[in-house]
């Protein structure tokens, strides 16, 4: 108590004694803050602006040497060209399908595993939690070739089942690890009270813990969906049939040709970004709480 009071007294004393140095410091702080944020904002926003500008420009303008930093004429021509010439909507649908299925499976399986690792006590629990973490950071580079070989033998390349399986490789450990951290942060007293009141473990889990963990589950769902939607390597190697492709290999087709139709490519990029950007803005609350609970793949 006396220390706190002393601290406050000393602080106000220093404020009285040196108002100028404090003001200078505040100015310095604001200048530093805004020069960092200003630079970062320009660096972040300009490429996105450039994507949108190219996507909404009349397609031919993208190649002229007289490019303009401001929009001259907004059209949807590039979008309609993209949808006309490629199975873009089909790829988008395939991406959504694969991402949703792998997310639902991973969240279901991961929630149960996370509850077990966070809440139940049994021999080997620490070791098992460690292996989940290991799986979460295990490099896809090491797994993609054997996965490709195994799925080829099973006839599951160019197959949604194969792609969903390969997405579970990262979504399951991710959801488990993230939800374990979230569940650990819920005080055990709540569950203990339920058990004391005569509930059994399953009831305590379903009725007490899971409702409290709902924001964490929502965050895990959003991240698992984003990871699957954004995934590149497995999709690129496993999906080669144009009618079954997801967005990653499909969009790659657009740039591996001889001519780069940038208006079309940028309109595709815009459409591919849309779901994740909407998800992030709508569910920001969950995203932030999820990130604070556990480290996230980047």
């Amino acid at each position: 108590m006396s220390e706190t009071a002393g601290g406050i007294a000393a602080r106000s004393a220093s404020r009285v004694a040196a108002p100028n140095s404090l003001r200078h410091e505040l100015i310095l702080k604001r200048v530093l803050q805004w020069s960092v944020l200003g630079t970062a904002l320009v660096a972040v926003v300009f490429p996105l602006y450039w994507m949108l500008l190219t996507a909404f420009d009349p397609p031919t303008l993208s190649y002229s040497s007289k490019i303009s930093l401001l929009p001259k004429q907004l059209t949807l021509a590039a979008f309609s060209q993209l949808l006309r010439e490629y199975d873009f909507l089909l790829w988008m649908w395939n991406s959504a399908f694969v991402a949703i299925i792998s997310t639902l499976l991973a969240v279901l399986v991961g929630t149960l595993a996370a509850y077990s690792l966070a809440r139940l006590r049994y021999p080997g629990r620490g070791f098992l939690a460690g292996t989940f973490f290991l799986a979460y950071i295990f490099p896809a580079t090491l797994l993609v070739v054997p996965v490709f070989v195994i799925l080829s033998v099973l006839g599951l390349t160019d197959d949604y089942i194969g792609l969903v399986m390969s997405y579970l490789i990262f979504t399951v450990p991710f959801c488990t690890w993230m939800l374990r951290a979230y569940l650990t942060s819920i005080p055990p007293e709540l569950e203990e009270a339920a058990l004391v009141d005569g509930a059994n473990r399953i009831q305590a889990m379903l009725l007490i813990i899971l409702p409290l963990a709902a924001p964490g589950v929502a965050a895990a769902t959003i991240f698992a969906f984003t990871l699957s939607w954004n995934e590149y390597l497995y999709a690129f190697i496993l999906m080669t049939d144009s009618t079954k492709m997801t967005l990653s290999p499909g969009m790659t087709k657009l740039v591996f040709g001889d001519i780069f139709l940038w208006g079309m490519i940028m309109s595709g990029a815009t459409l591919m970004s849309l779901p994740v950007v909407i998800l992030y803005f709508v569910a920001q609350r969950f995203v932030v709480s999820g990130l604070t609970a556990g480290s996230v793949k980047g």
Binding site: P47, L112, S116, T141, L143, E192, I237, V255, V277
Partner: protein, 308 residues
């Protein structure tokens, strides 16, 4: 409530604790554990076995050749070029992401108008698909109509278009820039969360002692943030080592092997070159570095959990 507690057969001096429940524990863990055994454990073992075989795409038999693939790789100068590239690419990318990510986190941690919106915008590069980030930058780097060359030539800084992706040094810088652009928000967001745990009374004490803004960063913020920084840096290093899309799409490892990393070399040898066994051996050679990183990471995480 008190009565019920008394009826539970637990010594009254001890706090009621969650009972051991091994059967339920294993049961709930089983689906996820089996999936991982099947989807991570089995492919990993397959990888190790394949790396010891001369296994080609389209051929049924795969003779065991011991360490043949590894010897071939380790005596190939291309492999060592790739190792050097990995160290440059990952080292520079992670260092820049750490510095920029920290600076932005500190700036966002101060009170300011529209903080929520600015924070959301800062996360965008990291939320977007890597593919989208790569395509945008590919377009900006382009020598035909690319905005960077447009500006450089417009201001008279260069006479002819800069070939960002075909010059060995520029290509490396270009892929690092894209990796940093996409990856720094991960540091920002995580460190922003970490900053909440640096107590404000420590700042006040430092202020009273007359520490200026830089001294406070060095003596209060940095030590408080160091454990989180270590974990994020190690995680990001692992993910950066694993990067494929940025390099493959921008340069395909070129010019020559100037930007090839282990992931692109794996793909080139295994899928393009049809030598599955040798390609897998490339990625298995990532393990020593990975193990060092994982050991460090586990140590830091345990330290944090013990402290918290």
């Amino acid at each position: 409530m008190a009565l019920r507690t008394a009826s539970v057969p637990v010594p009254s001096t001890r706090r009621f604790r969650l009972p051991r429940d091994a059967a339920l524990g294993y049961m709930l863990l089983a689906p996820a554990a089996l999936l991982l055994l099947l989807l991570v454990g089995y492919p990993f073992l397959t990888a190790v076995v394949m790396s010891l075989q001369r296994k080609l795409i389209g051929q049924a038999e795969a003779p065991f050749i011991g360490l043949g693939n590894y010897v071939a790789l380790l005596t190939d100068p291309v492999f060592w070029t790739v190792v050097r590239n990995v160290l440059i690419f990952a080292g520079a990318s992670v260092a820049l992401k750490l510095v920029i990510g920290t600076a932005v986190a500190l700036a966002l941690n101060e009170s300011m108008p529209a903080r929520g919106i600015v924070r959301s915008v800062m996360i965008l590069p990291w939320a977007l698909p890597t593919l989208v980030a790569v395509l945008i930058w590919m377009w900006m780097y382009s020598d035909v109509g690319g905005v960077f060359n447009h500006v450089l030539m417009g201001t008279g800084l260069v006479e002819r278009p800069v070939l960002f992706l075909s010059d060995p040094v520029l290509a490396m810088i270009s892929v690092i820039v894209v990796n940093v652009w996409r990856g720094f928000p991960f540091f920002t967001i995580t460190l922003l969360a970490g900053l909440q745990s640096v107590g404000s009374d420590q700042y006040d004490a430092a202020k009273v002692d007359g520490a200026d803004i830089f001294a406070r960063f060095r003596h209060v913020t940095l030590p408080g943030l160091a454990p989180v920084m270590a974990v994020v840096t190690l995680l990001s290093t692992i993910f950066t080592l694993n990067d494929f899309a940025i390099i493959w799409l921008l340069t395909r490892g070129g010019p020559g092997n100037a930007t090839d990393v282990l992931s692109t070399l794996t793909y080139k040898v295994a899928i393009r070159g049809l030598e599955l066994g040798k390609g897998v051996a490339v990625s298995v050679l990532m393990l020593p570095l990975l193990i060092v990183l994982i050991v460090l990471l586990t140590r830091f995480i345990n330290k944090r959990e013990d402290a918290g």
